[in-house]
Subunit: 145 residues, 2 copies
């Protein structure tokens, strides 16, 4: 999650919504991909941190599924990203701050609990480094007001 | 929807799940972007037809939002794509076949009805050329058995 937080800080420095993600090989614990939000930079409304990390690792490995990898992300994934996580068959999802307004894991549509979700991660952990992950976002949005 | 159907047939010919999409300028009616599923070809679990069409038009226009465009897609959007449609502020969504197993508009999480959805298209039309749109998919999956 420290790597994901570094990515969130990097997004902050680029004036993007500061969310970061890292993909970790479940068995070895090695961080194999990192990404942060680039929606503005790339003119891509789908360029969320976890979406970019999943796309990049899939492309690198030439696969569509990542069943041996865990996702760490500083903010609770949204509906779009929860869908992508399910399609990619991510093994574990660990997130920092919850997102009552846009989250889709423990908030909102709770996608992984639904019949139309075809893969539920074997473990979902919420609240890891919650304060740090949330603080970056709160500071960012406060500065925009 | 005929353009979206042509795209679905093109995906079929490439042995991808045959779903196609088109983006239309709401006022002029001009088709400005077309895309079809390329998940296998691009090793991208998020490379659904509507997602690719949205990404491509946003990139071309240098924007993250498409409030003046309507989306036509042969299959009911999934949870991931419904999220992307909301982020992109698509004006109208018109789809062909419903998808009880994975859809998220009139089936599943019915995302556009939820509090965590921050943009509901002004109109949602289902069932346009439903038979043709569904037949391509049924033939594809039958041939895989």
């Amino acid at each position: 999650m420290q790597a994901a937080l570094e990515e969130a800080r990097a997004a902050d420095a680029r004036d993007e919504v500061p969310v970061g993600a890292a993909l970790v090989h479940s068995e070895s614990g090695a961080i194999v991909m990192r990404a942060s939000n680039r929606s503005i930079e790339t003119s891509d409304p789908s360029a969320h941190a976890e979406m970019l990390a999943i796309r990049a690792l899939c492309a690198e490995l030439g696969v569509q599924r990542l069943p041996e990898y865990d996702l760490y992300v500083t903010l609770e994934p949204c509906t779009m990203c929860a869908g992508a996580i399910a399609f990619a068959r991510i093994r574990r999802v660990v997130f920092g701050a919850g997102d009552p307004k846009g989250g889709a894991v423990v908030n909102g549509v709770k996608f992984f609990e639904q019949d139309t979700c075809h893969h539920k991660p074997m473990e979902i952990v919420s609240g890891l480094l919650e304060e740090e992950c949330g603080d970056i976002l709160r500071r960012f949005f406060r500065s925009k007001r």
